[in-house]
Point group: C3
């Protein structure tokens, strides 16, 4: 994922010191389990969401390599969100940071309509217009990292040839999982 | 999502008048719940599929901003569908509308093999070849909107640099959820 | 999907002869059910994973047109995997086959951290840098096809304008489903 190359100040994840200890053991982090290692044993099927970050892959507080959802849950599929207002007008024309902020605001609004928050997001797909700077988008993303409580989503970033409107610089869709019994 | 900018005649969704009332209340629509508002309360975890359309985002009868699946269900993951026949030959060469129709036919065939229909689709990813007209694709999509019974899927549209074969103008994949107990 | 145009030697799927019989009946294959036909009847909701390959679509041992997951399960969302080592350094610079192999290794490592294997993958999204050869990537993918035990994932392949770093030629993300009771 793209952000592997982005320098992270680590702000917003101070409550997640345990993620930085690199061990082969399963760890507890804010009530979420983080699994590491490649020995292939099956983690206990406890309900909830667990980050999957094997030690052979880069670790980054901004995203997980994988997220596992176990047990009864509601799953929310969020369609591609852009920097638009309620009337469909573009917000932040020409400004990727502003557009990313608005797209994330809109994504949070969709989650809220289903009783979910950013912490429930398990997968983010970020589609940037070719030529845009991932660093600018990341400046909008990073301040929200604390919302993930040490279990950030799995993320895919691609640069596409075009988006639905010429003014759009970013489109973000997501899958969120809300465990039926909170872990 | 792209279609926010596409004029909709509203045909095929006449049975969904309630979606056009903009309120902050939860609504009933064809047995599907539609949640609005951003107050973050958790909707009742009744089994089934619910559209999520907060009032701060554009509303469009062709897609939902999000869809929430709750309760026991089968989930169908449909791989990228193109305009091919059973032998893999391209159908509708050079014609995006024809290719979109065939790709949707193929998608419906995959759903049918799992006992599902378009109304069970919760997420559509539409990959258009760069330079194609979204309007032409939408002409093929719109007549099927009635099949969604007022709960259209969440949709992401991107324009990509190329698809698997030079003749392909569109590739569509999907996730569908079939509640174990029909809502 | 792209691979429809790729010649397959069929190696690695010798244990799946039944998939090549084209009938309209449901078939048993290694304990996985494969549904065909378009009559829209609902398959029995037996727990596990079933390939969906209607007879009106091309068949290919490298992918399924769709995969249906039924019953209690853990779902793993794997973020975009690239050809990087544990320090984030690029592996296989300029070599798509080598990069695809490493990205798949990394994907398997994430799955293993959740107790899953390739056979649990239900959807693969393969993002190739524009201009790359799908055949080269497929040379890395094909030897692992046997791991799917005749139930390969649904696959989408697109060519994107760029990936997160200039050296990256491919990014692969996935969804895997691990049935709570092994089928």
């Amino acid at each position: 994922m793209l952000l592997a190359g982005v320098a992270l100040a680590g702000r917003g994840v101070a409550d997640d010191q345990s993620r930085r200890k690199e061990t082969n053991m399963e760890k507890q982090s804010n009530g979420h389990e983080t699994h590491a290692g490649q020995n292939g044993h099956r983690p206990q099927a406890s309900a909830g969401l667990a980050a999957l970050n094997p030690d052979t892959l880069p670790k980054n507080p901004a995203f997980s390599q994988g997220v596992m959802a176990t047990g009864p849950a509601s799953t929310i599929y969020v369609g591609g969100q852009n920097a638009v207002d309620a009337s469909g007008n573009v917000v932040g024309k020409g400004d990727l940071k502003a557009q990313t902020e608005r797209a994330l605001d809109n994504l949070e609004a969709v989650l809220a309509a289903g009783g979910a928050r950013l912490e429930h997001v398990v997968k983010l797909d970020i589609h940037l217009l070719a030529g845009q700077s991932v660093q600018k988008g990341f400046e909008a993303y990073q301040p929200r990292a604390a919302a993930f409580h040490g279990r950030p989503p799995a993320v895919t970033v691609t640069f596409v040839a075009a988006l639905g409107r010429p003014d759009w610089l970013v489109e973000i869709d997501a899958i969120a999982v809300v465990p039926a019994i909170k872990s």
